[in-house]
């Protein structure tokens, strides 16, 4: 699976969040970082979209939406003649979002400052994905990065890499990612030990499922 991360930020060089994400970007041929420029070429952008399976829109939340250049990109690249032509070229690809905001997470709920949840605010993107036949991923939200502790930043490094590279986001898949990364780092004993515990968990889960079914609990 190849992932294309399309990044747009009006002052990207000054953005601590975007610089952190760029530094955390996986070292892999399977993922590509693509910063939008004002003079983007529509045909080139469309070809990029065709070449990748997972498309990530990465941007700061500006007035509950994407920055202007990104919106211009969507309007021009997602022209009806392209996205609805023939076999609908984006169908069955995945659309994910990596969105940063300077507002605290707790504000995004009914009765609080922003009144609506992030899911509700990002609904237009989900609608876009549905219209294009794309599978919409749960967004990766970054709330108030400037206040992140070192531990939170460490968590973000791994969460971001997994968001770009994992086919699925179950606990099993995350474990497998750690195992593969350990093997790449030649920490073979650690990888084997972790793999053994993963198998143990799978076996236990299977046994529990069988007993639940025997007890009529499905």
């Amino acid at each position: 699976m190849k992932t294309l991360v399309i990044v747009s930020h009006p002052q990207i060089d000054e953005s601590g969040t975007q610089n952190f994400l760029k530094a955390s970007f996986p070292q892999s041929d399977e993922v590509a970082w693509h910063e939008l420029s004002a003079d983007f070429k529509v045909d080139e952008e469309r070809q990029l979209l065709l070449d990748y399976q997972r498309i990530i829109f990465q941007f700061p939340l500006y007035w509950y939406s994407m920055p202007a250049l990104f919106k211009k990109w969507v309007d021009e690249v997602f022209d009806g003649d392209f996205v609805f032509a023939g076999e609908t070229p984006l169908a069955n690809k995945e659309l994910g979002l990596v969105v940063s905001t300077g507002i605290a997470q707790k504000q995004f709920q009914a009765g609080n400052g922003e009144a609506f949840t992030i899911s509700e605010m990002l609904r237009p993107f989900e609608m876009m994905a549905n219209k294009l036949g794309m599978n919409y991923l749960v967004p990766l939200m970054i709330y108030q990065f400037e206040y992140y502790t070192n531990e939170q930043k460490q968590g973000l490094v791994v969460e971001y890499q997994q968001y770009l590279m994992l086919k699925k986001f179950t606990f099993d898949d995350k474990l497998q990612w750690f195992i593969e990364e350990l093997n790449q780092q030649e920490q073979t004993l650690l990888a084997e030990s972790l793999a053994a515990k993963k198998v143990e968990l799978e076996n236990l889960s299977w046994q529990v499922q069988v007993m639940r079914e025997d007890d009529g609990e499905g």
Binding site: A23, S24, E151, K153, Q154, G155, V157, V158, F171, K174, L175, F178, E181, L182, Q185, Q187, L190, S193, L194, A196, K197, K198, E200, L201, L204, S205, Q207, V208, M211, R212, D215
Partner: protein
């Protein structure tokens, strides 16, 4: 759970030895995911034990 403890301790040791921030983050998160793994193993085993030893099923 000794082997799980060994995995966690090794991950934390590698975190202190890593030079690159990304590698330190990786091992720190590995230690955390090991805790989650231990919890899940314990929960599944406990449920299995509970169902096996449920006298109503005998």
């Amino acid at each position: 759970m000794e082997d799980i403890q060994w995995i966690k301790e090794t991950a934390l040791k590698l975190e202190t030895e890593a030079n690159a921030y990304e590698n330190r983050a990786f091992y720190h998160e590995l230690a955390k995911v090991t805790d989650e793994l231990a919890t899940r193993l314990e929960q599944k085993q406990a449920e299995l034990d509970g169902r096996i030893w449920n006298h109503q099923g005998w």
